[in-house]
């Protein structure tokens, strides 16, 4: 099982936290396909709190956090 946390506008029409069976996911980008999120709407992709790209491998137990472009100060 993997845990996916969505933030900001990516929560529109979706749950904040989604749990997926890890068997159907092998790469970070697969999560986006599964949730129908366009890669251009994603600015930050974390796997277990570490910045990752969409080619990164996903394993069982990973916590994924996905953000659109955000900023502040």
């Amino acid at each position: 099982m993997i845990e996916i946390r969505l933030f900001a506008t990516l929560r529109d029409g979706r749950d904040k936290i989604i749990k997926l069976d890890s068997n159907s996911i092998s790469l970070a980008g697969d999560v986006l396909k599964h949730l129908s999120i366009s890669p251009e709407n994603v600015a930050i992709y974390l796997i277990n709190g570490k910045h990752s790209n969409l080619d990164a491998p996903i394993k069982d137990g990973d916590v994924i956090a996905i953000f659109p472009p955000i900023g502040g100060g």
């Binding site: 900001a8 709190g49 100060g73």
Partner: protein, 609 residues
Amino acid sequence: MTTAYNGKLLRVNLTTGEINPEELNIDLAKKFIGGRGLGTKILFDEEIATVDPLSEDNKIIFINGPMTGTSVPTGGRYMVVTKSPLTGMIASSNSGGVWGAKLKYAGWDAIIVEGKAKEPVYINIDDERAEILSANEYWGKTTENLVEEMLKLYPKASILNIGPAGEKLSLLAAIINDKDRAAGRSGVGAVMGSKNLKAISVTASRTVIEPFDKDKLRQVTSDCQKKIIENGVTNAGLPTYGTPVLVNIVNNIGSFPTRNWQESYFETADKISGETLKENHIVKQGFCHRCPIGCGRVIDFNGKIIGGPEYEPIWAFGANCGVDDLPAINEANYMCNEYGLDAISTPCTIAAAMELYQKGYISDEDCDGVPLKWGSGKAIVEWTKRMGQGYNELAKLMAEGSYRLCEHYGVPEYSMSVKKQEMPAYDARGIQGIGITYATSNRGGCHVRGYLISPEVLGLPEALDRFSIEGKATWAKIFQDLTACIDSMGMCLFSSFALGAPEYAALLNAATGTDYTAEDLLEVGERIYNLERIFNKFAGMKPEDDRLPKRLTEEPIPGGPSKGELSKIDITLPDYYNVRGWVDAFPTNDTLIRLGLEEEMLKEEVPVV
């Protein structure tokens, strides 16, 4: 020939009651741009570095940039420049709202206030006319009440003021304008209070500033506006959620200082996030003058419509005090505005007091009915009020900031501060570059003197590995220098999510008639940064003041996604000095000559009083 400068300064001496207009030296203005840069230059030349910050010898400058009041997007900022009573070094505290633009429209680039009034006064400006009037009836009033009273007299005015905290010389006192915008940091409100200056009201009949090249500025403005509208941060992230959108990302990387930086991951952070604030409390966006972004939060607080909290106070009252009660955070933030307190340093000092309570230094008796317990919503609200009121001995001590509080108990290492100013909401143990900018910020612990969070966490303008130290010294210098320019131009730092040095140079050239390339502009920023550093040297700064609290170099983050991390500032700081052309924290003569600061270099250092 017009430029975006008015060409006029107003000097007000509160000791003698004299009010004199002065001509602005336009060449000097262009060399230091305006705002933060020119304000520091004036303060340096008038030998303020060595004075007691709360004596009548200190001066406080309210200064616009050339872009303030123009049609340029986010061109509405002003800067308060003075010697800080909190750090004993340069203070330049920035604010938005409409006050700066009103001052510009009234015909003034800056007000230099000196001396000390015998009793409470305010300054009223109505275009060319300026007068000093009694503020006896206003002394003691909190912000909102004061502004409502003054608006009865000056219905079209914008009001800048201090609250009770500034009157009582709290070293955390802010200057508030337009009710809820703040020049918050470095205790600038205490300097106003020390001069018995309660407020400055400004009424202006003009609404336009004439630039050097109107057509060119219109074209460059349009290009910049387009970039802001097309940028994901400035067109969606900030307008929709405001700065509190950062709560979840910074917590999810495990760099969200928690319980006075003893930890760096807050389990219930989503309860205080920008998303939750929007869902439960937001009424609408808040806009400063000429701002297309609108990052301000306007909230419903028990049926009252008020300015809501930014990311920093949400973190500082929230995770840093172990509090996940968003209504209590909203109220504590409102109390900062009402009493005129810095909404970063105040909650960070409460967090330090909570650690002192946890470890037995502060007793229940000291707490007088409101224990400083982690997670207490009541404590953050009541102790903010108490600090603003000078309620008891502990509250008075806390109103001097976390460093002096912790030093009083013999444990200054519990103060999470640099140069005695509290650090903001990003743990430098897990983000190496931001640690350089904290340690070397001329105004003490601060995130907006080189916001490396942009590349290290948000991936803008390009993604950097937050754990790596490679190249970070150079990045820190470039960000610090560009920020000095933006602050001096009178624009908002948030415009830099969409704009870069070439755009700022083009705006400045069209507005003022300079002929700067992007590289030239960065050199002006470097000049300003070095001038601030020399000011600090004259003020008594020592190389050891460029340091991070021991906790960041000796206590690894105990859990969460950045577990085990420590700041590598001992490696990055020498790199940084090398990149800057500094030795032992100060510029070499070669560096000063390269930057056109020979005059400042030749000035003899005056013994520190």
